[in-house]
Amino acid sequence: MIEQAMIKVPVALRKRLDAAPDAPLLIATFGLLLLMILVFSFTAENFFSLSVLRNILTQTSIYIILGVGLTIVLTVGEIDISMGSIIGLAATVLGMTVITWGYPIGVGLLATFIVGVFCGFMNGFLTAVVRVPSIIVTLGTLTFFRGLAYLLGGSTVMVEFPPFLVWIGSGSLVGIPVPIWIAFIAVLWGYLFLKHTRIGQHLTAVGGNGEAARLAGINTRICKIIAFLIMGVMSALATIIIVARMDASQSVMGKGIELQVLAAVVLGGTSLFGGRGVILGSLLGALILSILQTGLLLSGVVHFWQLIAVGGLLIAVVAVRISREPAEGKT
């Protein structure tokens, strides 16, 4: 439908669309989001209230931040399913430095980022230098990082964080909750990084055709390591928000989150095979998933049916997308 419409649009607009190849996809995804909001505004009471919107956005900020990281990893042609365990390990370290050992919150936040960078580097090194397929690497580190988190933190819950951290979770700036600001900055940064920096272009090239990129003089190993480092840093950022929102940290945090994030990114149109990363699509994908879940909840649908709706939507959207581009991606 979009392509038919494109034939009729004026040449000037057509040129702009050619300059932004992701635009039709983004418009379609945005249409799906609007449709969903429209449906739920009829079925769910109070769906349009400001507090519901704030809640949805705040909850989703974690998935948006992780989605930016995963989009970049998928763009370079790799995958990371260990982010939930990175969150568990980082949350444990944050809790131990601040609560158990009583260091100031600045040290705790620094330690969280160090954990993220360390985990991301380990994934990147094993993938790019040892050259084990990333799905296997992160399958292993999924277990390994979670094991480390359990070893460090056991099953204790650490609570009562300093006011600054609590402010990150539940405070607001100019009337907008802090997590939304952080997610906004992450998306903006991710978009500019991927589209408008040289490294971002290199990452896309490596994901599109690794051999061609290598022959063009791009250091593919460094590119892959950078992508995993970004994923690690984004996981650390998400950890801080999760811990701050709950005012508690525990080693089981983030368990199973990778599937939700992967679903959001795929809904947004990023290719699983590399070479195409749509940061804004991942933002929309994360919002679609949250709105679907919250909307069904407010419409009084039992939680279990929500699962079926989420899974069905994921398969349906990708099936429609693939049926529309039969020339590419025959797998």
């Binding site: 094993l126 040892v130 050259r131 084990v132 397929p133 799905i135 296997i136 690497v137 399958l139 292993g140 580190t141 999924l142 277990t143 390994f144 990082f145 979670r146 094991g147 480390l148 359990y150 070893l151 056991g154 599937l259 992967l262 679903a263 795929v266 699983l272 095979f273 039992v302 939680h303 279990f304 049916w305 929500q306 699962l307 079926i308 989420v310 899974g311 069905g312 994921l314 398969i315 990708v318 099936a319 693939i322 049926s323 991606g329 025959k330 797998t331």
Partner: protein, 337 residues
């Protein structure tokens, strides 16, 4: 070496080395399967050194019984990975098949044979859904099975809620608790699945087609193989085997609930990879997966017997997995740079 062995005089006695090399050519998987077997033996030796009770008839029969479901699922996953696919939904399929068993045997009094058929049929039906989406709608397998993993679990949750169904009839429990020559019937069932899987993959035309589709899909299509049918069949087989695994699982635990076997897919993929099957398709090592499942079972049991905490177990499992896979990819690059 192969050149000289081919042109050797017929009456000239061939050296042991040449025979070995011929054997290696005829069975290219033998080398990596042997390597996996060595890892298994090394683990056995280590655990025996730490605790002599580890290698007793009783403990070995316990390990085999615990591993039976993994072995059955591992055979199916080997086929799926051989066609360059993946199936994340197997844990949820086990839950759906287990739900079927519970509904028919605990909530109603259906005969056991009927319930067994129904459980495998339910698993196959889930496999049909996966196969249709992958083969006919051409949605990437990772996405399809990520979606159906959530959907099938949702079905089990809608039907069972948070109920736990238990008190199964003795005839079902016999599958995991009976003894034939000292081993549980589930172990023989797993052995049967391994043998059938091995013969099918290596000695039937369907097996050849599976390898062809996984190795080079375009070439397979051009040589007249019905790719869709091969993919579809493999996912249905995976579903059916998940049903069989659910039977073994439920019989061992004597209970079903909707959350059963959550997260099992990662263990099963890990054991297939440990066994040497490549995630890039075109190669399937059934015996390797059997050994991989045993390694996993021995690690879990052995770390428990030798007194590691369950926290430590997970860390060690992850480390060993990464180490073995890194070593294997390093080896592969040295052999074929």
């Amino acid at each position: 070496m192969s050149f000289s062995s081919k042109h050797a005089e017929p009456d000239q006695p061939r050296s042991v080395m040449q025979k070995l090399l011929d054997w290696k050519e005829a069975y290219p998987d033998a080398a990596s399967t042997t390597a996996t077997a060595f890892i298994l033996l090394a683990l056995l030796a280590i655990f025996y050194g730490v605790n002599e009770r580890f290698i007793s008839l009783l403990n070995i029969s316990i390990i085999l019984n615990q591993t039976a479901a993994y072995i059955i699922l591992g055979v199916g996953m080997t086929l799926v990975i051989a066609i360059k696919g993946i199936d994340l939904s197997i844990g949820s399929i086990v839950a759906v098949s287990g739900m079927m068993l519970g509904l028919l045997l605990v909530n109603n009094d259906f005969p056991v044979w009927f319930a067994l058929i129904a459980a495998v049929a339910a698993g196959s039906l889930c496999g049909v859904a996966n196969g249709y989406c992958v083969a006919n709608l051409r949605v990437p397998a990772l996405i399809v099975t990520l979606g159906t993993m959530i959907v099938f679990r949702g079905v089990a949750l809608i039907v069972l809620g948070h109920d736990i169904l238990f008190r199964y009839p003795d005839a079902l429990l016999w599958i995991a608790r009976g003894r034939i020559l000292g081993l549980a019937p589930s172990v023989y069932l797993a052995a049967l699945v391994v043998i059938l899987g091995f013969v099918m993959l290596n000695y039937t035309s369907f097996g050849k087609r599976v390898i062809a589709v996984g190795g080079n899909e375009e070439a397979a299509r051009l040589s007249g193989i019905n790719i869709r049918r091969v993919k579809f069949t493999v996912y249905v087989l995976m579903g059916a085997l998940s049903g069989v695994a659910a039977i073994v699982w439920v019989a061992r635990l004597n209970s079903t609930q909707a959350s059963v076997a959550t997260g099992i897919e990662f263990h099963v993929i890990a054991l297939v990879v440990l066994g040497g099957t490549s995630l890039f398709g075109g190669r399937g090592l059934i015996i390797g997966s059997l050994l991989g499942a045993l390694i996993l079972g021995i690690l879990e049991n052995g770390l428990g017997v030798t007194g590691f905490s369950s926290f430590m177990q997970q860390t060690v499992l992850g480390l060993i997995f990464i180490g073995v896979v890194a070593l294997r990819s390093w080896q592969a690059r040295r052999a074929d740079p």
